[in-house]
């Protein structure tokens, strides 16, 4: 059993806060991904769990024991670093067994555990090689192997795929997920790549400016972001934001985006948005995937509107189209065969079932 809990954890570097009092409960066997832009405190949080950074204030517990003052080696954790951090003078076998040898584990036990881990990661034939004879992906596997053989309570990954090329990254991502399904160890994984976060995590923790913006399952973050930051951070291309006003007319609500563009608010949201009618600080949010060409069959709450396309970006499976509404650039995703051309007029469909209204003063999604 190894749940990890962070209570009011604070980290200051010379009075500059890196982490400002975060609370997080990580369940046993859970795969948690900390994601956020650089400088958001995600790596610092991971390093505090590892014991590589001291905690300024608060409490960290692993498996129920408070570890604030426990050195890294006694926390029973294993960490995989962004740049692998393999010992260059040791063979792969020696690298993987280093921790066990320090603990004076019996020789045949070491052999067995390294062989097991090597089999899981498919690196058995590399055991006698030195790190410099390995490719980036192989090195990353060895780094993971070094973590697995320790059979720790918690795995910590610090942006382990950032140094790999795009193709290998996707491959290793799947690999990491498979390994977690096999060994079922509580895992905390740090990345700045939201795709990695979404694909790997049981729950994603979005951090920004040293605080946790939102914790939730990948789909929850995508469909119901609680803050403007999460709404803009999760999803690629990012969500479109437009200043808007909620107008009330004859008992129905309309969201007005510009002088000549407004949409009726879906009925199920009327009650939620009504108190905000007339406010000037509102933002309308809609993801590019919810701005499409007009299909043959239109669902309720989907509304067509006409724009002049400025730029198109063909991606193969889809085409990104860019246009402006009142000076704000908006991105939509249309079918490659929908006939979008640079500078051409096009009828698009806004799917308001997936709209968000954000109060810009609090940056919260209403």
């Amino acid at each position: 059993m190894a749940q990890v809990s962070l209570r009011k954890v604070v980290k200051l570097y010379d009075q500059t806060p890196a982490v400002r009092g975060i609370d997080l409960e990580i369940a046993d066997k859970e795969f948690i991904v900390l994601v956020g832009p650089s400088g958001c405190g995600k790596s610092t949080t991971l390093r505090m769990i590892a014991g590589l950074e001291e905690i300024t204030d608060g409490q960290i517990a692993i498996g129920g024991d408070v570890v604030n003052d426990v050195p890294p080696k006694d926390r029973d954790i294993a960490m995989v670093f962004q740049n692998y951090a393999l010992y260059p003078h040791m063979s792969v076998f020696e690298n993987m067994s280093f921790g066990l040898r320090l603990k004076r584990v019996a020789k045949d036990e070491i052999r067995r555990r390294v062989d097991d881990a090597a089999r899981i990661l498919d690196i058995t034939e590399l055991l006698d090689r030195k790190p410099k004879q390995l490719s980036g992906g192989q090195r990353q596997r060895v780094a993971m192997g070094r973590a697995i053989v320790r059979d720790p309570k918690v795995f910590l990954f610090d942006e382990p795929l950032s140094n790999l090329d795009a193709k290998l990254r996707v491959q290793m991502r799947t690999e990491i997920k498979k390994v977690h399904q096999k060994v079922r160890t509580t895992t905390v994984y740090v990345t700045h790549d939201q795709v990695e976060a979404m694909t790997l995590a049981d729950r994603v923790v979005v951090m920004n400016g040293g605080i946790i913006e939102q914790v939730g399952a990948p789909n929850d973050l995508y469909h119901s972001p609680q803050t403007k930051f999460v709404a803009g951070f999760i999803g690629s291309p990012a969500m479109n934001f437009l200043p808007c006003r909620i107008e009330e007319a004859a008992g129905a609500l309309r969201v007005r985006l510009s002088d000549n563009l407004s949409f009726p608010v879906p009925e199920d949201r009327t009650a939620r948005y009504k108190p905000h009618a007339g406010k000037t600080s509102l933002m309308f949010g809609l993801r590019p995937e919810h701005i499409t060409e007009v299909p043959r069959h239109v669902e309720p709450n989907q509304h067509p509107f006409e724009v002049t396309i400025e730029v198109t970006e063909p991606m193969g499976m889809e085409t990104l189209v860019y246009f402006t509404i009142d000076g704000t650039e908006i991105c939509g995703r249309v079918n490659p065969n929908a006939g979008a051309t640079d500078g051409g007029k096009m009828k698009l469909l806004a799917d308001l079932n997936n709209m968000h209204i954000i109060d810009d003063t609090t940056a919260r999604v209403l």
């Binding site: 670093f81 962004q82 740049n83 010992y87 260059p88 280093f98 410099k132 320790r150 140094n163």
Partner: protein, 303 residues
Amino acid sequence: MTAVTASDAVAAPRPKYGSISKSRRWALRWSYFFLVLFAIFFLTPPIYMFITSLKSSAEISAATNPWWVFEPTLENYIELLTQNQYLIFFRNSAIVSVCVVSITMIISVLAAFALARMKFWGSATLATGVFLTYLIPETLLFIPLFKTFAFVRDTTGIELMNHWWTLIILYPTLTVPFCTWIMIGYFASIPKELDEAALIDGATWLQTLTKIFIPVALPGLIAATIFAFTVSWAQFLYPLAFTTSTDQLVLPVGIVTTLIKGDVFNWGQIMTGALLGAAPPLIIYAFLMDYYIAGLTAGATKG
């Protein structure tokens, strides 16, 4: 597509660009020219020493071709090696150098590790301070050292003057700062994640040093060892100032004081002594170079 473009480029008339292979050839020619020049410059003195060491005193003073030996003789070697004094100098130098190298490496490796990795209050200032002490000319230290020796004698009764083993205490003041500085540089180049990984793997600071840092920084360690050995083997001023009795002298001072009597220079034996004295550093360089494997850190991290 690519192939077509490439052949098009070849078919087109070639504009007059420089050529990479040509400029490389010229760079190589110049490199070899200077290499040969430097080889001649640096090898001439030892070759001249070797030639002279094979000559008798009569032949040295005769007006013959100084670059040729007409009657080669080993008498200089035999005389020097059967003379007790030279072997005493050699023994003193050897003991002093081995001790100094050991002391230096132990102190500077530990100091460098602490200064490079264990960030503590004032560690950066201390690291600079260590290097600054190296910049103080040794001649400036004669009087303070004499004073210190006198103080030690007065308080403890231990006489430090005129003992070869005093040099074992003295030389590290020259070698430790510089070796510490070299090692700080090497240790600082080791990625931080490597010791963090070791820390998580359960290594203590000392295990991190011995099992990770020392093997990874081996080239630096060897460079520092060579430096410390060279300094203590060739040191001239300190032994000249602090040792006087013949049986307490080390090699460089010993050769000069015993083989130059008044204005009589025993050139044959001086050259032989110097040549034999230069042998140990040469052998050590040759031996350690085999272990000097550059790029040992390749593969530790991305790069």
